[in-house]
Symmetry: C2
């Protein structure tokens, strides 16, 4: 047997009032105390729930937001998204999470899909998005918050991490421990975070007036495999670095794999500083030194910024929230007896 849900009409009939009054009650308008009672009773008796679809049709709001990310299998992203989802829920919003699997086409397709679903707002980790789509969304009054990465050519709110100084600090830590030949396993240069992290690496070298050896800069694709390969190519160098900075989680994993498989002892033979994911840092032996991003905060800021925009508050647009990372020290960095 299929049960048909009660409508506001049924409630009105049951309570002996008009539809408009019920609606007013539901939406917090003024209703006489006595009638409130009757309405409440009717609602309970009929197990009435507002039909969000019908409401959406009138109000042009769906109480739904879209979150578009490059991968659902990336714990950095999912822990942010988890926080976002839980905050939005508190405010009555549901979250449609889309994963574009690093695919340029899919990213654009799914953005359209979300817009077509009439979401009230979008949180996007952009990679190859057609920026016009974002402009159009904003014109249609659908706020968009960029997450983790920003875009140059567009005015759009963004919540991200100070990647440049994250890398700057990581490499500086290696400098202070006496390292001078520091390799970096960098990411794909079409990704914002990768560019920023590389910039940090370069800037700290400049600030310390240490010459940069181009051979110490390797470009990976943020995936495990390339972390492994590039670490191997460092190890194969005639004059290898004394320390390596790996710029994301997956490549850190790959780098550790390479080190393990070649029986390189860390930090005796090579010092290492990785990125993200405390869990990995703890399970690897010796405990890895890593750069940690404030995932919780990123989630909170972006959710609240989106809520604010959806409330119609456009103050401070475009807002750029730039959070700081932290270095969790492990035992993967050797203090060199180098006299500076």
């Amino acid at each position: 047997m299929i049960i048909i849900a009660a409508t506001i009409k049924d409630v009105a009939k049951y309570a002996g009032l008009s539809i408009a009054t019920i609606s007013k009650y539901i939406n917090g308008g003024n209703v006489r105390e006595e009638n409130k009672k009757r309405i409440e009773e009717a609602i309970k008796a009929l197990d009435f729930r507002v039909n969000e679809i019908a409401r959406g049709l009138k109000t042009n709001k769906t109480a739904t937001v879209g979150v578009l990310i490059p991968s659902l299998e990336n714990i950095f992203l999912t822990s942010i998204v988890s926080r976002i989802e839980s905050i939005l829920l508190e405010y009555g919003y549901s979250t449609i999470i889309c994963d574009y699997r690093q695919d340029r086409e899919l990213e654009n397709l799914k953005f359209d899909f979300l817009m077509n679903k009439l979401v009230d707002g979008i949180i996007l980790v952009p990679q190859n998005i057609d920026e016009d789509k974002i402009r159009k969304a904003l014109e249609k009054d659908v706020p968009v918050i960029l997450l983790d990465r920003s875009l140059k050519d567009i005015d759009c709110d963004a919540v991200l991490v100070d990647n440049l100084n994250a890398a700057y600090d990581a490499v500086e830590l290696l400098f202070t421990k006496g390292h001078r030949r520091i390799g970096i396993i960098s990411g794909p240069q079409d990704i914002y975070t990768a560019r920023e992290r590389l910039k940090g690496y370069l800037r700290i070298h400049n600030d310390y007036e240490i010459e940069i050896d181009d051979d110490l800069i390797k470009y990976g694709d943020y995936e495990i495999q390339s972390g492994m390969e590039l670490m191997n190519s460092f190890l194969d160098m005639e004059n290898p670095p004394t320390a390596v900075f790996v710029t994301n989680y997956e490549m850190t994993l790959g780098a550790v794999m390479a080190l393990n498989s070649r029986n390189i002892s860390v930090p005796d033979e090579l010092s290492l500083i990785g990125f993200d994911n405390m869990q990995l840092a703890n399970v690897v032996k010796p405990k890895l030194c890593i750069v940690v991003q404030p995932m919780q905060q990123i989630g909170e800021y972006s959710a609240h910024l989106l809520l604010k925009r959806m409330r119609g508050d456009k103050s401070g647009f475009p807002a750029m929230v730039r959070l700081k990372t932290e270095i969790v020290e492990g035992e993967s960095i050797k203090a060199l007896n180098v006299i500076i």
Copy 2:
């Protein structure tokens, strides 16, 4: 400037046809070739998109499904969900992913929330759900698919893994390598998978007629911390096991942590077989032997089963899809020179 989207009415006016004809065209009805042309032109000119909300109001369908899982930070689940999301998208459905953070109350709350959002179907990894909620959903013709875990007292489609034989095979592998004292780090017994995996451990002991030492069965909570603690308690035993089977990913991670921190060499001093996550298995040295679940398949079966149900096809209800695991051998198991 806020742009207002074109409606079917505008298209009708532009094409010089009635609303009904446009609707017929959109939904694949018969329309004269000439009119098709004009409609297509009008749609393109006005950039018309069907308003899914209005459609939903009429059709009582939202083209949205809910996925309710205990954690978004669990790569086993997110990789399944990723597959589900992408399949559903192909069929025009969007996926609302909710994470109940292992919380009983939240699980029930979010289930209601999804129902209230009028999703067309739900995929649920159940933990402490009030089974009546599922019954009510089914009565309202909202199909529910249980994922990874089943529920005893209710007729409901389910897609899961043969956890019992997964454990059975894992322990049997240890037996064939000569181990006889095998510890198990089991999960919380109120979780289906944990019970099943323990059953497998017990059954293989029975089948081999090997006596079970209760001290070798430890109960964790599927979290890293307990994996670490329980592994430590194994190592502290007077007569410790020669091999340990850890029954989920997080606890495997914890167990490895414990082994590393005490400098126990695997497999020389202790053999280990873990669960899930190839990545971990590869990064740990020596390469870990693990039980791997077919995440892709789980996602595919559950998505397709849900699609079938949403199509109204109730054949074979309640369906129980029970997929097989695989053991990926590593170097973490020592062949003992035990003469059987």
